[in-house]
């Protein structure tokens, strides 16, 4: 209901200021468009000065014709997973499940196993629980000691089911609550009988323990149907849920919860062996749940490439440790350095234009934007003022150095979050394309895909500062890495600016630019990730306490 309402209002808004927005946006974009065109329209310039970089991408693959074809037929469809599955790495085989799905597959197994046991499914379910859902071990021990196994698991071997179940109300003294009242009771075949209230209390307390619930006075097991009969509802579902959860806890090598708040997804990694190969290569094993949340299977953190889990861990610890020393306010507004008017950041773009005096400056360093706009992104370089003096690192200097990298890291984090917000409007833009210009849904997807690419680029950029911080600054590869950061920064800023455009007509007109810039960001991201992994593999970047 609320969704629909917000949809409407936003759509109305969209329609309302449409005519206005065209004039509004076209005016500044016209000048900007030429500026951007010169930089990017026909594929990034080849003369970027990272000549000797082995990580430079082959940009010749980006002839415009190719792009048109490829991307129109297959809208940029590569997911994060594909992007990160570098050729040298084994691909991760995993599936995304819920506890219900795991339980359903267990139930199918039970069905399968029935001819082996010739027991009712409920009983096999109890056996499976007892063996932590480990079918092989259960079958092994079943052939060895059938009868004992049944007794140990609390299954009635007498074959009678006399006396099992809820009994009608009667005058009853319950030894648990010590009340003598008219009440329903429950007992299993053992005859240990208690009032229904006590049984409910008892079961409720144990539903979340994930273990077989037995009679209060002996080891006979309560089956799911008993539990549901006593509780008067499908309470056994809760028990199965907690049982599956304890199963996941015990198999944390191959099962992991999606760390996103309130996400109920479980990632099941099918080949845990390939994990070792990943750590050997300083690569991280990123997975994406069916809700679209990506995270590192190794450390449960967000996607942190090019940093490996160790660098990530050290970096996060350090940030926590230093947070009091680092006094940056990660606000969404900044004062214009020229006229002091407060400007709110729009999307994640770091290219700020003051609404009052038209001054163009960089969000990160506050400096003029002009030098940033060239092929070299100044802001990605830490300018060491004491470059010429060969003095040992003083603690203050170390902190200043860290502060720089940390600031870059958080700025990109903030930008990524703002881009995410931008994403919410992309959906409406796509709708606008469909409704206004009659573009098909699939054709409109280039916007969504561009945004995704932008986010991946930002995340890589953000974590690259953790890797850079731990890198030997004098090593040539570190310099190449920084160059790569600069190139990706530029690419990302430029794509981010493009995504601010609101008018559907302008978006469609500049569609090729979207393809090109997104493609370029993708390739720059890949190059940066490869370079970062190389730094780690060669020990040039090493996480220290």
């Amino acid at each position: 209901m609320t969704d629909l309402e917000s949809d409407d209002s936003l759509l109305l808004e969209f329609e309302d200021d449409d005519s206005e927005s065209i004039s509004n946006i076209d005016a500044p974009t016209d000048s900007k468009a030429t500026h951007l065109d010169s930089d990017f329209a026909n594929i990034p310039p080849h003369n970027v000065d990272t000549d000797d970089s082995e990580f430079d991408i082959d940009e010749s693959q980006f002839s415009e014709d190719d792009l048109e074809d490829d991307y129109l037929v297959f809208p940029i469809k590569k997911t994060t997973k594909d992007l990160l599955d570098e050729d040298s790495l084994p691909s991760l085989k995993y599936e995304c499940l819920t506890t219900q799905e795991i339980f359903d597959s267990m139930k199918r197994r039970v069905h399968h196993l029935q001819p082996v046991f010739s027991l009712p499914p409920q009983d096999i379910l109890i056996l499976m629980q007892r063996y932590d859902w480990n079918e092989e071990r259960l079958l092994e021990e079943w052939t060895e000691k059938m009868d004992n196994l049944l007794i140990e698991s609390g299954l009635n071997t007498s074959g009678e089911s006399d006396g099992r179940g809820v009994k009608n109300g009667k005058e009853f003294f319950c030894p648990i609550c010590c009340e003598e009242i008219l009440t329903e009771t429950f007992s299993l075949e053992c005859g240990h009988e208690y009032c229904i209230d006590c049984y409910r209390h008892y079961i409720k307390d144990r539903l979340n323990h994930g273990k077989i619930i037995t009679c209060m006075d002996c080891s006979l097991a309560l089956k799911n149907e008993d539990i549901d009969q006593i509780m008067g509802g499908a309470s056994s579902v809760k028990l199965m849920d907690s049982s599956i959860k304890s199963f996941i806890r015990k198999h944390s090598n191959s099962y992991k919860w999606c760390p996103y708040t309130d996400c109920k997804c479980i990632i099941h990694l099918k080949d845990t062996l390939s994990l070792q190969e990943y750590s050997r290569l300083h690569a991280s094993r990123f997975v994406t749940c069916s809700m679209g949340h990506s995270f590192c299977f190794g450390c449960g953190f967000e996607i942190h490439a090019p940093a490996d889990c160790r660098v990530t861990d050290q970096w996060v610890k350090k940030a926590r440790l230093e947070c009091e020393n680092l006094n940056w306010v990660l606000s969404h507004t900044k004062e214009c350095p020229r006229c002091s008017v407060n400007i709110e950041k729009n999307g994640g773009c770091n290219h700020m234009v003051c609404s009052s005096c038209r001054h163009e400056f960089c969000w990160i360093c506050g400096g003029d934007w002009a030098p940033h706009g060239s092929s070299f992104y100044q802001c990605a370089i830490y300018k060491n003022e004491d470059k010429n003096k060969l003095v040992a690192d003083t603690p203050k200097k170390t902190l200043r150095r860290y502060a720089f990298f940390y600031k870059m890291f958080t700025e990109h984090e903030v930008s990524a979050k703002l881009d995410w917000k931008l994403g919410e409007t992309v959906g409406f833009k796509v709708k606008g394309l469909q409704e206004k210009i009659g573009v098909s849904w699939i054709e409109g997807q280039f916007l969504t895909e561009s945004l995704k690419t932008l986010n991946e680029g930002r995340t890589a950029l953000k974590w690259s500062f953790a890797v850079a911080y731990y890198s030997d600054p004098s090593h040539n590869l570190t310099k190449i890495f920084i160059d790569n950061q600069g190139l990706l920064s530029n690419a990302v800023e430029s794509l981010s600016e493009l995504l601010q455009i609101k008018s559907p007509e302008v978006i469609m007109k500049r569609r090729t630019e979207f393809y090109n810039k997104a493609g370029y960001v993708k390739n720059r991201t890949k190059a940066l990730l490869e370079c970062g992994r190389d730094l780690l593999r060669k020990g040039i970047s090493k996480a220290r306490e």
Partner: protein, 218 residues
Amino acid sequence: MSRAKRLMKELQAVRDDPAANITLEFISESDIHRLKGSFLGPPETPYQGGRFIIDIEVPMEYPFKPPKMKFDTKVYHPNISSVTGAICLDILKNAWSPVITLKSALISLQALLQSPEPNDPQDAEVAQHYLRDKESFSKTAALWTRLYASSNGGSGAPVEKEVDEARLYGIDPNLVKEFESQGFDKVKIVEVLRRLGIKSLDPTDNATINRIVEELLK
């Protein structure tokens, strides 16, 4: 409230069975959360002749959640903390069932005194003593029973005025004297020997002697 009814019933059951030699009482009539229980040390164990007092806290969810129990009386036993009296016993944790009563729990504690489980220790120092030298362990446990659990002495009030620290932890007094003669402080010697779990020593075992001296010099 069913919890009150149940507790009254439990107290009555204890009173009705004087042969068991178990006591169970509220600390104050106004508070049914707190009780004190006691039982006798089992015969033919180092705990024989002692009465052991147990502090009991009954949670709101009793009897669906277990009562909290700890020894008020100091006791030397692998599954009971010699410092806090905390108890390591499964029925007071995950193996609790609502059919277990305070009386049956006290009987289980009595049985625990009878048969220690040194592989699931609460007090590592005591457990090590038990595993390394059962006879020496028994002597120490019996000393503690005499000192802290004898019916005339009552809990916490030692009968003997001054207890030798070394004897209290089953350490050979001659070993302590040996190091004292080398100029080390007695308190420190006992502390180090306890930490290293050494109760007595073969005088030719130079490696261990060196280790002790090394610790003493720290």
